[in-house]
Symmetry: C2
Amino acid sequence: MKIGILGGGQLGRMFIQEALKYDDEFHVLDPNPECSCAGISHFVKGDFNNYDDVLAFGKDKDVVTIEIEHVNAESLEALEKQGVKVVPNSGSVKIIQQKILQKSFYLENEIPSPEFQAIQNASERNFSLPFVQKMNTGGYDGKGVQIIKTEEDLQKMWDVPSVLEHLVDIDKELSVIIGINESGESQTFPVTEMVADPKLNLLDFNICPAAISGDVEDQITKIAEQFTNAIASPGLFAIELFLDKNGKVWVNETAPRLHNSGHQSQEGNANSQFEQFYRVVKNLPLADTTIFGFSGMLNLVGEENFSGKVKYEGLNEVMKLPQTYIHLYGKTDTKPGRKMGHINVLANSREELLEKLTHIKSLVKVKAETI
Amino acid sequence: MKIGILGGGQLGRMFIQEALKYDDEFHVLDPNPECSCAGISHFVKGDFNNYDDVLAFGKDKDVVTIEIEHVNAESLEALEKQGVKVVPNSGSVKIIQQKILQKSFYLENEIPSPEFQAIQNASERNFSLPFVQKMNTGGYDGKGVQIIKTEEDLQKMWDVPSVLEHLVDIDKELSVIIGINESGESQTFPVTEMVADPKLNLLDFNICPAAISGDVEDQITKIAEQFTNAIASPGLFAIELFLDKNGKVWVNETAPRLHNSGHQSQEGNANSQFEQFYRVVKNLPLADTTIFGFSGMLNLVGEENFSGKVKYEGLNEVMKLPQTYIHLYGKTDTKPGRKMGHINVLANSREELLEKLTHIKSLVKVKAETI
């Protein structure tokens, strides 16, 4: 089958890597000929935000999918009208890529998500401090999101269409990944727990299973069911959640694609998110997502003050550790905060897992050959 | 690092697939532009048996390796002289690719292997019936090997340089895979047990761990040590063994490369033979090869009477089974006996494993769109 992917980053690369177990043909559209997928697929240079580029790329594919949600959704709709299968469908991508539509979707479907106001510009604000401002479009990896705490902060509000959102008093950040195929079958991955690096606003450790009560698990199961029923699209969706200090779960946001919070599934689960995504894209029976023990993931991000040809420190030491798996993304150049790879770890207990992850974090540095 | 691979078949494909976890550049030399590796590497069309082709291909690589042993060994030696690292080295490839040298190697190093006579032509035979005739060069997947039982059979002896070998009264066929890096570190995979399909003379099921006594295990450990000490080359080597009905272990033959008998390590071991091979090729610390339970592998080979565009039957049913992993080789066309893929299975006991494998074997057929 000819599978077209919009975006050629690490998510696409790990998807293709997993899917090399099967006999499909992968085509990738990306503006960067040096992208992570270029050497391992039929690469097409082009802009996935450009209507014509996407249409030309997609028209002869059996299925078109995405590894980034910031794509031209109108062209996806046009492809659907031409009879090309698009997974996830254009409707779901549109909802998710615009924060205002995404929040309205939660509201309409009674999915708990923090109270909000949608604004077209800063002057429309009618929402009490403190709050989070999320740009309607273009946010990614913490970009396009800022916290407005004080009257003084109001000066730095972005004057663009945005969602202003109530600040949750966060106890834990959680994530659940759901696969839904065209036949309507759905399968949820065990919930993972994140620890963020506040400085880079990037995911740091991701741990599975999350240490949560049965009640919290029930709330998440209900959210997953509500989401699955409402989204009306096949796809792999990552729902990022906040558990507040009163034990209530809120949806932060959803990604209509493979997600950083699912990387530990590569070795930690019976099947990974990449395998599940493959099955979703091809409308195959969904995969078993069982976990056998404790697993966790550490992102490898470019160190501050280093740019240029990447030079990893400590990887040989990490290779000597049992139940430890390095995944690099085929990126030649590093820059501060750039996601260059990750390391997955298996363990027999949460304590052992956190110890291993912390030790590995102390070993590895993502620097550059010259500063 | 620029890694050059001679051969673009499934072994190379699964090697590259695994190594996509790292940041290297893979170049493949194969005569067939439709080979399993073509779409996922820098492909060079050429003959790995041709001196000039191999030399031209290898000269600008950081390391040259093989996924098939029937390559031009003189060109590997020439590359070594030019300073290109070759893993496994040309000396070990030469020994293994010629059955007469291989048998002499065992004899010299006191590695137990069945009694034999080396002949240049049929008239030189001075070896009592029954015996196995193995052509000196070119044997593969059971080709170039025949059993001579009776005086009448002598008529069909091949009149070419060969090894005539004593027939072992086989209780079990076993295999052990050893990784040796340039630094001298070596690591052995747990022994696997094979069940062959007598009709196709192809590996059928491969099971890990093998059901063998401590004494047999000791014999194999000793063989592995003798081999490692004698071969004088980094590499991943698969030693195929016979356990005879008196409990003695004999070396059947060795492959200086990734091997079909190690495929179940993809999900059955902490790290697969492909990961280990990567570390050998790059002289990195070797990987942990621990097994967690029982694992097995079923080859998917083209059914008799079907040739042409492949059409698999039953794969969707297999996808519904837990702890079951399909691996196809990206081959468009099937023919009788062609290795098209394999299926790995995990289980909690040997009985459960054999039951699952037998069930899966009954589900899957490798046919063609038209007969």
